[in-house]
């Protein structure tokens, strides 16, 4: 009899719950009725709320709303930094010294005025903490001659500094508050700074929002900063909800979220006819590329010019765009089309089967080449596996046998970073919106070395990359980056493939939800 009563009780509870929830559908599917709450779906790559340690996309989205930077970008723009905490700046002729004049009305969320000392502390902390974003301060030093002036000095001419300081990693923190909670900008900050735990629960910024709850796995909530020095935040509360692209598709349709940030081109047909949703499309600054290892010790085949030519001319770039989805673009060089210094669309490599076959004939009888890529990772709905299969088919058409070698990203990264892959299919997300970020592809540089490419083989390219790094005059700089990329394409160690489309899907009544090539989405512009 006990079982029977228990069963009846459970049944009654479930029936009651079904009745209750069934009667109140609008109450259970999210706060879309409340205009003061915005729910944003994002597949989290969130590690920390400490700006100095944060370097991931989600951290950038969140950080942009909580921590101000010296300069930033306007809505949807990724080319011209505009004033934020710094109202203006000057640069010396050699582009080695930047002087920033700070606004005098900026206050942190606790009401403390923001001064140049906070900027120096924040930047030095990033430099010494040895985190993912510490390289941003490489070769830079920062000083404060007075309360409202900050000087950034570079060891070498560096015109990328205005773009670099828009990075959320360089968000300005309340130095006194952070120091009081374990923070330090000392040279040994990597071992002595203990402020992360504090910053994961409390805002120390001057942005329009402050942290309410921070969770790297479920959702992170920010609320309007009552002490914000600028135009007040448009929403009382923004919830960043961790959801896969598949969940975002369901959630945006069911009204659980207001904005979906990770929907791929293949998912959009499901919502295109939905009258309640608006689809904003842009082009992502992420580039997919293929490389052929230039190190003869790794492969005597891929390190030859004939192999690189066979790949470069054998790829069906238009066909690859079909895999990448509607709205994607072939990328002409390593610098994405949305940034200064990019090649023109007319510069793209075009498939030439005759040239490719001639190069294959030159190679003679060779064993199949292994193409490695991450199998458990996709961006904008694009699976590396699908792209790799198309590459394999393209190259087979011109007589090259490719063996696919997928592995989980945690293991694939090891061989990629170790420079041991014969061929690799990878992507590059910008660290900051400036072509200087793409000098990593040059011989002897980080990505170049992953492709086994050392400077000895192409000293001309090394010289060009060095010139590009220190060029200061805009037109000259643009021309050098153009030459650099054309020369890279000519050699063909890297075959730039495409930039995916970037899509923001939002409720029709939400204003300003546009894709940002710098932040993914700038939450501070939404609703304005």
């Amino acid at each position: 009899m006990r079982i029977s009563r228990g069963g009846a009780f459970v049944a009654a509870v479930l029936a009651g719950a079904l009745a209750l929830t069934g009667c109140t559908p609008a109450d259970t599917t999210g706060p879309d009725t409340a205009k003061d709450v915005l729910v944003v779906g994002k597949s989290f790559d969130l590690n920390t709320a400490d700006p100095a340690r944060s370097f991931e996309t989600t951290g950038g989205i969140f950080g942009r709303a909580v921590y101000d930077t010296l300069l930033t970008f306007g809505k949807g723009d990724a080319t011209t930094p505009i004033p934020m905490v710094a109202e203006s700046y000057e640069v010396n002729e050699g582009a080695t010294e930047y002087t920033f004049m700070l606004r005098d009305d900026v206050v942190f969320s606790d009401g403390t005025p923001l001064t140049s000392a906070d900027v120096v502390f924040s930047f030095d902390r990033v430099k010494n903490i040895q985190g993912n974003g510490s390289f941003l301060m490489e070769g830079l030093s920062v000083t404060a001659p007075d309360e409202s002036t900050v000087i950034i000095t570079s060891e070498k001419p560096n015109t990328a500094i205005p773009a670099i300081i828009t990075a959320q990693t360089l968000g300005i923190v309340n130095s006194e508050l952070v120091k009081a909670n374990g923070g330090t900008d000392a040279a040994d900050a990597s071992t002595t700074d203990t402020a992360e735990e504090f910053l994961n629960t409390t805002s120390a910024g001057s942005g329009p929002y402050i942290i309410e709850t921070f969770n790297t796995e479920t959702e992170t909530v920010i609320v309007a900063n009552p002490n914000y020095w600028g135009e007040p935040a448009a929403y009382e509360k923004i919830v960043l909800k961790n959801a896969t692209a598949e969940n975002q598709l369901m959630d945006i349709q069911s009204g659980t979220i207001d904005i979906a940030l990770d929907l791929g081109a293949d998912q959009l047909p499901a919502i295109e006819s939905n009258p309640d949703l608006a689809i904003e499309s842009g082009i992502s600054p992420t580039i997919f590329f293929l490389f052929s290892n230039a190190n003869p010790e790794i492969s005597k085949v891929t390190s030859t010019q004939a192999f690189r030519d066979a790949v470069k001319y054998g790829l069906d770039y238009d066909g690859l765009l079909e895999i990448a989805g509607e709205g994607s673009e072939q990328v002409a060089g390593v610098v994405p089309s949305v940034f200064f210094g990019a090649l023109k669309p007319a510069d793209v490599t075009v498939r030439d089967i005759d040239k490719a076959k001639a190069a294959v004939a030159e190679l003679g009888d060779i064993d199949p080449i292994s193409l490695e890529y991450p199998s458990d990772f996709s961006v904008a709905g694009i699976s590396f596996g699908a792209v790799a299969e198309r590459v394999q088919a393209n190259l087979k058409e011109v007589g090259l046998e490719i063996t696919l070698a997928p592995s989980p990203i945690s293991t694939a990264l090891d061989s990629y970073r170790g420079g041991t892959e014969e061929m690799g299919l990878w992507l590059w997300n910008p660290d900051y919106p400036d072509p200087a970020d793409y000098l990593v592809f040059a011989p002897d540089n980080i990505v170049g070395l992953r492709a086994g490419w050392t400077g000895g083989s192409h000293p001309d390219l090394v010289a060009l990359s060095e010139q590009a790094a220190v060029a200061t005059e805009e037109a000259e700089r643009g021309e050098i980056f153009r030459e650099y990329q054309l020369a890279m394409n000519e050699v063909g160690v890297f075959a730039p493939l495409f930039q995916p489309a970037a899509t923001v899907v939002a409720g029709k009544d939400i204003e300003g939800a546009v894709f940002s090539a710098v932040f993914g989405i700038d939450l501070t512009y939404i609703g304005k």
């Binding site: 609008a26 599917t29 959801a243």
Partner: protein
């Protein structure tokens, strides 16, 4: 007797746990890949100083056997280490995600027991009739329909087309979880007397729990039916009926009690498979449970988290088996005496 039984079970559980930790360590170490650099960005991973700092921070600069012994030493103090990925103590991660999965699994099990055993009894009492035939199809469907497909259909029907249930999560976005008692939001919100939050938690729980319970319902239905039919044929049942006892008394007091022993055995096994199904259901319903945590930890070679989850799941299995053993004794006194 009972004390010795518990002691021996706990002893074997401890030995088993050490073995599980050892196997987890060895398997993770055998995988190609570098846990220290897998979470670093491209530039940081190319900087030997930063990589060395990360290795030192997580003890990855020690030989594997040292890491193993350090882990065991910390474990004795209740420290499961710090997750490389979330940077939280693994114990606090498990305390966050374990109850989420437990809530889902318990709800699914309760639904399965009520529906599966209930319909199993009905099917046995109407053996070979039209109801039995219908329930046979239902049972077959429950066992054979892929759970991910069922989940997608459920979301489409009940969340997308008809906004009856939320499509993902444990609470509405932005809602503050109830003060933690068990970590199971439905229970904790009731304890806190927060009815709106209880409704929210329950509405999020129902759909994934129903989907997750489907295979278990099918299994329990079949086993209850066949077990009931076996017991119904016994002489003592006919004797009870001959004595003029009401039908429901005979079924519930005499037949069901005897029929439940094999059903409980199946329940234990089904609970194990239910845990495996939880991973898929959590993924589809965006349920932040131990399955999703385990998947992300494994993808990032997060050794402390991987070992922590393995240990947690093993302890769940051991506990469930222990409960099943005790239930045998409660239902069938002959087992207890033996």
């Amino acid at each position: 007797m009972l004390f010795r039984f518990i002691l021996s079970r706990l002893g074997s559980a401890a030995i088993l746990s050490v073995g599980i930790i050892l196997v987890s360590f060895i398997l993770t170490a055998l995988l190609p890949g570098d846990a220290a650099t897998s979470r670093l960005g491209e530039r940081a991973a190319a900087d030997p100083e930063i990589v060395a700092a990360v290795r030192a921070r997580y003890g990855l600069d020690q030989p594997l056997y040292m890491q193993f012994f350090i882990y065991l030493g910390n474990l004795l103090r209740g420290d499961l280490g710090t997750s490389i990925r979330t940077q939280n103590p693994v114990l606090s991660d498990l305390a966050q995600f374990g109850p989420a999965s437990a809530e889902l699994a318990i709800a699914a099990t309760l639904i399965a027991i009520v529906v599966g055993v209930g319909f199993g009894i009905v099917a046995s009492l109407r053996a070979n009739g039209i109801i039995d035939q219908v329930l046979r199809v239902v049972s077959l469907g429950g066992v054979s329909i892929p759970i991910f497909w069922l989940a997608l259909i459920a979301v489409y029907l009940f969340s997308t087309v008809n906004r009856i249930f939320p499509s993902s999560g444990r609470l509405n976005p932005g809602e503050t979880p109830p003060p933690q008692v068990t970590g199971m939001y439905t229970f904790d919100s009731l304890v806190a007397g927060n009815w709106p939050l209880f409704i929210s938690a329950l509405s999020h729980l129902i759909l994934p729990a129903l989907v997750l319970s489907a295979p278990m319902i099918g299994l329990l239905l079949r086993f209850t039916r066949s077990s009931m039919l076996e017991v119904l044929g016994n002489e003592y049942v006919r004797a009870a009926e001959a004595k003029g006892l009401p039908r429901h008394t005979v079924v519930l007091r005499h037949v069901l009690r005897g029929a439940l022993v094999p059903v409980i055995t199946v329940l234990g096994t089904a609970f194990a498979s239910l845990l495996a199904g939880t991973v898929l259901v959590e993924q589809i319903f965006g349920w932040p449970g131990i399955g999703a945590y385990a998947f992300r930890s494994a993808s990032n070679l997060d050794l402390p988290a991987i070992v922590g989850v393995t240990l947690f799941v093993a302890l769940v299995y051991i506990t469930v088996n222990l409960i099943v053993d005790f239930l045998y004794g409660v239902i069938d006194p002959r087992i207890r005496r033996a």
